[in-house]
C-alpha cells in the first residue's frame, strides 16, 4: 500500500518487488549486513527492514572518498491483509535479502466457473 520513511539518516536500500499468484517476493540490497545485524520484523501490517553495516576496518584509516555515507539501512513497507505474514520466509545471501510472503488462501485468484443457463 504505502511506504513510510522517517527523517532519521538511514540508507534507503534499493528493492525489487514481484508478485505472482501465490504471493509476493521482495529483494533488498543490504551489502555489509550480516544475519546478526539484520532486524526483519512485521508489526501490525508493516514490514520493517533494519540492517547495520559491519565492516572490518584497519586502524588509522582516513576516508578519502565516501559514497556510502551511513552505516544503517532502513525501509518500511505496508502490507495488505491478503498476505499471510505468519508464513513469511527470509534469506540473506551475500548482502541480498529475499523475503517471500505467501497470500492467504482466500486471497489467491481462482477461476470462477460459469454454469450453463
Amino acid at each position: 500500500m504505502t511506504e513510510q520513511t522517517s527523517n532519521e539518516a538511514f540508507l534507503l536500500p534499493p528493492v525489487d518487488v514481484v508478485e505472482d499468484e501465490g504471493g509476493i517476493t521482495l529483494y533488498a540490497d543490504l551489502p555489509g549486513v550480516t544475519r546478526e545485524n539484520l532486524d526483519l520484523h512485521v508489526d501490525g501490517e508493516n514490514l520493517f527492514i533494519d540492517g547495520r553495516i559491519a565492516l572490518e576496518m584497519p586502524k588509522e584509516m582516513e576516508a578519502t572518498h565516501v559514497e556510502v555515507t551511513r552505516s544503517r539501512y532502513r525501509r518500511v513497507f505496508a502490507l495488505s491483509r491478503e498476505f499471510n505474514t505468519g508464513k513469511l520466509t527470509a534469506d540473506l545471501k551475500q548482502g541480498v535479502l529475499k523475503v517471500r510472503i505467501p497470500k492467504a488462501e482466500h486471497a489467491k485468484p481462482r477461476r470462477i466457473e460459469i454454469s450453463p443457463a
Binding site: G32, M61, Q94
Partner: protein, 145 residues
C-alpha cells in the same frame, strides 16, 4: 494507468535527490573523478601502509568479479544478473530499483601502491580490496651517524 503495490514515497525521492546534489558538490580528487551513483558504490580510505577500497556489490559470485590494478588505477568489473522474472509470465513487477547488468568502475589511486601486494575479499556483498604501499614510499626514521 498502472498502480504499484508499493509506490515510492515522494519524500524518499526528494531525499535521494538532495543526497545526489550534495554529493555532486563535493570536489573530486582526480581527473578521472569518481563517477558517483554507479554500481558498485565505493568507499575509499587510506592508512599510512595501505589503500583500502570497499565496493558495495551485493549478490555476486566472487569468481565473476574482475579486479585489476595498473599504475595506480584500480578497475572493478563484472555482471549482476537480474532476479526479476522473464517477461510474459504470470508474475508482475511492482518495483524495480536494484541494479542489473554489466558494471565497470575505474578509480585513480595514489601511485605509491605496490601492485604485487593486493588482497581482495568478498563478504556479505562487500568487495574489500587492500593494497599495500611500496616499502620505499613509507615514512621511516633516518638514523644519524
Amino acid at each position: 494507468m498502472e498502480f504499484s503495490l508499493f509506490p515510492r514515497d515522494l519524500f524518499a525521492e526528494v531525499e535521494r535527490l538532495q543526497r545526489h546534489m550534495q554529493q555532486a558538490l563535493e570536489l573530486s580528487p582526480s581527473i578521472r573523478g569518481f563517477a558517483r551513483g554507479g554500481f558498485p558504490a565505493l568507499n575509499v580510505a587510506s592508512t599510512p601502509q595501505s589503500a583500502e577500497i570497499y565496493g558495495f556489490a551485493p549478490g555476486l559470485d566472487p569468481k565473476t568479479i574482475e579486479v585489476h590494478l595498473e599504475r595506480g588505477v584500480l578497475s572493478i568489473s563484472g555482471e549482476r544478473k537480474s532476479d526479476l522474472p522473464q517477461e510474459g509470465g504470470d508474475a508482475s513487477v511492482h518495483t524495480n530499483e536494484r541494479f542489473a547488468g554489466r558494471f565497470h568502475r575505474v578509480i585513480s589511486l595514489t601511485d605509491d601502491l605496490d601492485p604485487n601486494e593486493v588482497r581482495a575479499t568478498y563478504r556479505e556483498g562487500v568487495l574489500h580490496v587492500s593494497i599495500k604501499r611500496e616499502a620505499s614510499a613509507q615514512p621511516r626514521r633516518i638514523d644519524i651517524n
